[in-house]
């Protein structure tokens, strides 16, 4: 069962996405911020990461770079809100494989995660 790490400081979004992915047959790990995400990535080595951009403690872009430093092959999709185009572009340049603009519909989330996990 592919493992997906969901990183988002907004609990509601985290729960909604987790539920969606679990119903689709993924194992889900959650983190509330960038620091926690790095720690969980080290421990669990998930197949895919959904990484929010705006978070306290450590933002998504910094977390992305740290995760890529741990594992150059990490498969990360950024979660972005409207109007963060420049950060998303930077994230893609820094190795993010994909991105989802919030609020993303279920179909898009599942398609992106499936691609990241090579399904």
């Amino acid at each position: 069962m592919p493992k997906v790490l969901i990183v988002d400081d907004a609990a509601f979004m985290r729960m909604r996405t987790s539920k969606l992915l679990m119903e689709a047959g993924y194992e889900v790990i959650q983190a509330e911020n960038g620091l926690e995400a790095i720690q969980k990535y080290r421990e669990a080595r998930p197949d895919a990461v959904l990484l929010d951009i705006t978070m306290p403690e450590m933002d998504g872009l910094t977390a992305l770079k740290e995760i890529k430093a741990i594992d150059a092959n990490a498969k990360v999709a950024m979660l972005t809100a409207l109007g963060q185009q420049q950060i998303v572009l930077e994230a893609v340049k820094a190795g993010a494989k994909d991105f989802l603009v919030k609020p993303a519909d279920a179909e898009r989330v599942l398609a992106a995660v499936a691609k990241l996990c090579g399904r």
Binding site: G83, V88, V92, A112
Partner: protein
């Protein structure tokens, strides 16, 4: 049916709300400007820009569940798509329908903020838009931009030598065309991902749009490229199709004899987001340079900047306090062993002062915005007024990059719009009149902005009929504003000033006689209240020019500090004409009123504290006179003494004291007490009302 005032729920949190509103406002602004341009020149790029803006609005309104907004933008988008594909012509009927829909969009976007149903009716707007589509369709369906997949690879013609070299080294040359889904929220980044994939596959020889555009994330929905690679076309095609939101990818090998197509028209990259309004005199590079700089810039919340500004304001006040303490210390310690300490403090205070000045200056600069956003609204206004009054008017704007403080941007719009409306409504003649006068049927109104020293200037110039000096003279006399003799003797320059007199231009029929409209006295008062000025030049038959001058910022002002009945007042320096001691001044009593004769003028004399409502008995005989002017009228203000000039940070009196006539704001003084900022226009106005006869003492 919508119920007005009903509470609405949308799927977004506060942070999203902010982004949503900002983006919506931005896109609506884009539409506002671009739709008006459409009639004049519907080039592909413009259509594409308009379509994108509507598309973005549709996407974000749908995402938050604003059905009404999504549905209206969808109808707009359908019409825009037809325009883009040249199935529909941008007639004024089409533009009108789109502009009406846009007005409704503004209201709908605002519902997201208020969360209240505005009750606006959009059904008929949508029907109107869709009806346009039904009438369309006969015109040849010409493939619009964004649909030219795989067509012309002429952009690669310049790279012919490279292509030959790659071929010689055994690589195959692949023509790539990728289209991003129409509803993709950030297509520019998808295009960048396409480029990444191409770079991984081989050597990218040429791209359309150019590489730097794609790398900046500013490509549209289509990327075409020529790649030299060793992998089979099908493999690259699969890799490209695997990128999220790719609608279609096409990769085929270009044979050795196959031409690339016609050479690309000039190698200049297409403008990505061309400047808002058609502009004259704007150096083309400035706009693109500022766009390039965009990547290295960040957005800052206005509230944060205001907070910083306030903090620096506190620093400025503390500095003034420190200087006082230093002076006191120096006096106490003078001659003692600790005198050196006082000197130390003096040096430190001086340094702190310099740094504070620089900091204030730097923050002031960060608050500066280009005037573009204000100018961008004008084409729509000109179009509306011109249509209503049956005029043909072209608006030319220049100086969009001129920067000014946020606080000024907020207040400059109203007077500017007022003058612009007048220029179109009354300045520009009807096409028929213009033809008879041997002028082109279309009148021109030019709005130009520029900086000079610590001021911003905005000129509104028309090539219309100019002001009728005789009519103005007659009207001023008829209204009892000037005597017949004075009017007859007044030189043209002075007659022009009459149009700013209260009572002259408020009458409706004056606009027909003088060619100028309503309430210019109010415009002038508002501008002068902001420590600015307005001037006018006019030539019969040639046109009229108004020039507004405003300070670059309203957050601080230079003031003359005076004391009256023990209270410190700040009189804005722009209104001060001179100061003189009471002793030796030529003060007369005329009919129970005191008048100061100052050179050729008679100034009503006011005791400043009393005029501002200070009812306490005077503590000392006023020793100084400050002559202050507004709108060409002067008053003599009696004060106890004059402290000197100072930069003061303007704070609103707000809830602190409530509005008080004659007081424009407050500032915190060096000793921590409150100083009151004098509102010269209302003092001058009050004095004028009190003594009608002193109007004769008007100083030109």
């Amino acid at each position: 049916m919508a119920e007005e005032g009903k509470r609405l729920e949308f799927e977004l949190d506060d942070e999203d709300l902010k982004l949503f509103s900002e983006e919506a406002a931005e896109q609506i602004e884009v539409l506002d400007v671009a739709l008006v341009q459409l009639e004049a020149d519907a080039d592909d790029e413009l259509l594409q820009r308009i379509f994108r803006a509507a598309h973005t609005l549709k996407g974000s309104s749908a995402a938050i569940g604003h059905k009404k907004m999504a549905s209206l933008t969808h109808a707009m988008e359908s019409v825009l798509d037809a325009l883009r594909q040249r199935r529909l012509r941008p007639s004024s009927e089409v533009v009108d329908a789109l502009l009406n829909a846009l007005d409704a969009l503004r209201v709908l976007a605002n519902e997201v903020v208020t969360r209240q149903d505005s009750g606006i009716e959009t059904q008929s707007l949508e029907e109107e838009l869709l009806a346009l589509l039904e009438n369309a369709g006969e015109e040849p369906a010409n493939a619009g931009p964004g649909h030219g997949d795989g067509a012309d690879f002429g952009f690669a013609a310049q790279a012919r030598a490279d292509i030959a070299a790659h071929r010689a080294s055994g690589k195959s040359i692949l023509a790539v065309s990728v289209r991003i889904r129409d509803d993709s929220p950030l297509p520019g980044i998808r295009c960048f991902q396409v480029l990444q994939e191409l770079d991984a596959a081989g050597t990218v020889v040429a791209t359309d749009p150019p590489r730097q555009v794609i790398e900046a994330g500013e490509a549209d929905y289509v990327v075409r490229a020529v790649v030299a690679a060793t992998l089979p076309p099908a493999q690259l095609q699969a890799a490209l199709a695997d990128i999220s939101e790719v609608a279609g990818a096409e990769v085929r090998e270009i044979g050795e004899d196959e031409p690339l197509g016609a050479p690309a028209p000039a190698s200049e990259p297409r403008p990505l987001r061309p400047g808002a309004a058609p502009s004259a005199g704007e150096p083309g590079n400035a706009a693109s340079a500022s766009r390039r700089a965009g990547a290295g810039s960040i957005r800052i919340d206005v509230e944060r900047l205001d907070g910083l500004m306030n903090l620096v304001g506190e620093l400025v006040i503390d500095r003034a306090r420190l200087i006082r303490i230093k002076d006191q210390l120096a006096a106490v310690l003078s001659g003692s062993e600790l005198a050196e300490l006082a000197e130390n403090l003096e040096e430190t205070t001086a340094h702190l002062g310099r740094i504070t000045d620089e900091l204030q200056d730097a923050i002031m600069r960060t608050r500066m915005l280009p005037i573009r956003s204000v100018l961008a609204r004008l084409p729509r206004i000109v179009r509306d007024v011109a249509t209503r009054s049956g005029k043909k008017v072209e608006l030319v704007t220049a100086g969009e990059e001129t920067e000014l403080d946020r606080s000024v941007i907020e207040v400059i719009t109203d007077p500017l719009v007022h003058i612009l409306r007048n220029a179109v409504d009354h300045g520009i003649e009807t096409p028929e009149e213009r033809r008879r006068a041997g002028k082109p049927e279309t009148g021109t109104v030019t709005v130009t902005a520029w900086n000079q020293e610590a001021s911003i200037y905005i000129s509104v110039k028309d090539d219309g009929r100019g002001l009728d000096f005789e009519a103005i003279r007659a009207k001023a006399v008829e209204r009892g504003l000037v005597s017949a003799e004075a009017a007859a003797a007044a030189p043209p320059d002075e007659v022009l000033q009459y149009i700013f007199l209260p009572g002259l231009s408020t009458a409706k029929q004056v606009s027909d006689v003088s060619g100028r409209g309503v309430g210019l006295d109010i415009v002038r008062t508002n501008i002068e209240r902001l420590n600015g000025s307005i001037s006018v030049h006019s030539e019969r038959g040639k046109g009229t020019e108004f020039i507004i001058q405003l300070p670059l910022t309203l957050a601080t002002t230079k003031a003359l500090m005076v004391v009256a009945r023990g209270i410190v007042y700040a009189i804005p320096l722009v209104s001060v004409t001179e100061t003189l001691p009471v002793r030796g001044a030529d003060i007369h009593s005329v009919g129970g009123r005191r008048l100061l004769r100052l050179r050729d003028a008679l100034l009503p004399v006011l005791e400043l504290a009393a005029a501002l409502g200070d009812r306490r008995p005077a503590v000392a005989e006023p020793a100084y006179i400050v002559a202050a002017q507004h709108a060409g009228r002067q008053v003599a203000l009696l004060v106890d003494h004059v402290l000197g000039e100072q930069d003061v940070v303007v704070k609103s009196l707000g809830e602190l004291l409530g509005a008080r006539p004659g007081i424009g704001g407050a500032t915190i003084l060096g000793d921590g007490t409150l100083g009151l900022i004098v509102d010269t226009p209302s003092l001058v106005g009050g004095a004028a009302r009190e003594s009608r006869e002193t109007q004769l003492a008007r100083v030109a």
